[in-house]
Subunit: 335 residues, 2 copies
């Protein structure tokens, strides 16, 4: 092990409690001793053992970020924002990937019960209508903040984007550009955010007097091949849609792939709007019109809320709800 308080105390022939207090800059300790201790500690490159103090009811200094995946520009940017705030606050970030698997999510969450982390930031898995594990966590003393993919049933702070409006805007944009037959590609009936986006989409459909039956909703999965097959089927159908809203980045890029494969030109044959956070959107062929989500900001904000809860134990943030708007960035896929 490294240098401990005990060793410093022994070397300096003083009590451990004196050292402990000096290191925490207690007013009880004289300037002289404080200086002597601080200097020696610095010289010895003392670093406190975080887990020893966590045992004494203090914090471990670790927070958890639970995500469906990391190979998605939305989530990686969110991590970026979270890590930035955490580093600033002296906290450490643990990353967990659920790969859209509820049972993994459950076992991950359940491991948090005994002090591993002080707080949890999370985006839930799709296809999940179980929320016991989340409710349990929410009921514990460990603060929980949802970001992006929230679980509606569970009481917890949440940071989301304006999903309903974005879905509406995406559809309306396609209609404005002349599309007559839209399709919305969702990923799950159980995911609040895509349901919101879908609801916005449907509102635009109705407002424009379109027939909902002719403007279908497709449900994609976590399996690339089956998504491709499904989108292919959609785009080969007699009544092929001429405008598509991709509710998450993955289905938007998969739609691109299918269009390339079927030799459908974007935007001539099909116009596409995708929810996305791609840095390199401008380089795609053609560059996609996107609903660009404030991923970095959402991560940052979620982390800030969490730290607010961590710093002042009293605050109850369960009703906190922050909405950070997305932006429709027009590019060549909807010319």
């Amino acid at each position: 092990m490294g240098v401990t308080i005990k060793k410093i105390a022994a070397d300096l022939k003083i009590a451990v409690s004196t050292v402990s207090k000096a290191l925490r800059d207690s007013h009880e300790i004289s300037q002289d001793t404080k200086a002597r201790i601080l200097e020696y500690a610095a010289k010895m490159e003392y670093t406190p053992n975080p887990y020893a103090s966590s045992l004494k009811g203090k914090r471990s200094g670790n927070i958890a970020v639970v995500l469906p995946e990391v190979a998605d520009s939305f989530f990686s940017s969110a991590i970026d924002g979270i890590e930035e705030v955490a580093q600033q606050k002296g906290y450490h970030v643990m990353v967990y990937l659920t790969h859209e698997d509820v049972s993994r999510e459950q076992s991950i969450i359940r491991e948090f019960r005994n002090g591993r982390v002080d707080g949890v930031l999370m985006s839930v898995v799709a296809n999940d209508n179980q929320s016991n594990h989340l409710d349990e966590l929410s009921a514990s003393e460990i603060p929980l903040v949802f970001f992006d993919r929230v679980c509606e049933k569970t009481k917890a702070a949440r940071v989301v984007t304006d999903d309903f409006d974005s879905g509406y805007n995406a559809a309306q944009h396609l209609i404005d550009k002349g599309c007559k037959r839209l399709a919305f590609l969702s990923v799950s009936r159980d995911l609040a955010i895509t349901n919101q986006r879908q609801a916005g989409f449907e509102k635009a459909i109705r407002e424009n007097g379109f027939d909902p039956k002719k403007n279908p909703i497709g449900y994609c999965s976590n399996d690339e091949a089956s998504n491709i097959a499904q989108i292919k089927k959609l785009l080969k159908s007699k009544n092929r849609p001429d405008g598509i809203v991709g509710s998450v980045e993955k289905v938007a890029t998969q739609t691109y792939t299918v269009c390339h494969a079927l030799n459908l030109s974007i935007p001539q044959d099909v116009r596409i709007v995708g929810f996305s956070h791609l840095q390199i959107a401008a380089l795609l062929n053609p560059s996609p019109t996107t609903i660009t989500q404030p991923a970095f900001e959402m991560g940052k904000t979620a982390a800030k809320i969490l730290f607010k809860a961590l710093e002042k134990k009293k605050i109850d943030l369960k009703n906190e709800r922050i909405v950070i708007p997305s932006v429709l960035v027009e590019r060549n896929s909807t010319l």
Copy 2:
């Protein structure tokens, strides 16, 4: 707090040590008591406090992954691979971002001195010729494994790709396609991997009888705007190169951006090969020929090596060196 061993012992009116042993399936404990304890623990949803046992010389169960950034498909895939192995082994992954800043890297590493993590996986910052903090870590009992961006001076296990050969292949591929004047875009004079790639590039230049002076090496930075300006200057010069090797993903996409801005056609005016791990490469305009690095595999392998060291304390892996080859994927940027 949650349920502790102490509580279980009290409830069952037995000694804490008995409970502890039963939970670790010690042979000292009778089947009966073991069963009774295990059942009760399960019922109470007992989860051990990981940090209490870490204090007793045991492991915390946490490993650190230190990266320059996460918004890069190479690093996010690497995290994916690392997290997969870690979850399997029951370890937890802490992510730290250095943003190419040595001082951040130093303070992050120095925080590892006192038990926060059991082991470290890392890709070093560019522009760093200081390695004291890495040497210190390497000398400590905390095992260290470099992946991708290694520090040559520091003794530690390393997992890399075949950088030299990949650089050579990239240049040779451009030459095969008819390029007469190449450029290599590096990111740092201090980064072993890009230096290796550059050395391979230079070998191809020499072997083909090209004049090194007319096939320049450019050094990009971490600042997007200045890179764009630099690449712009290169591509506007009288002796504009007709073939470019981008040594990391970022400079490759930046080169694309510049070509679009200057109305240079790829591959007619300039051919491009980029080191990259982009999932959606096929969708770019035009689709780029890439040196595709085995990011996921590298992460997995690095993690496996680390766990090998963690499980058997004796092993010294400082000389371990694993090379996982990259693959040149030909697409339309070098037609």
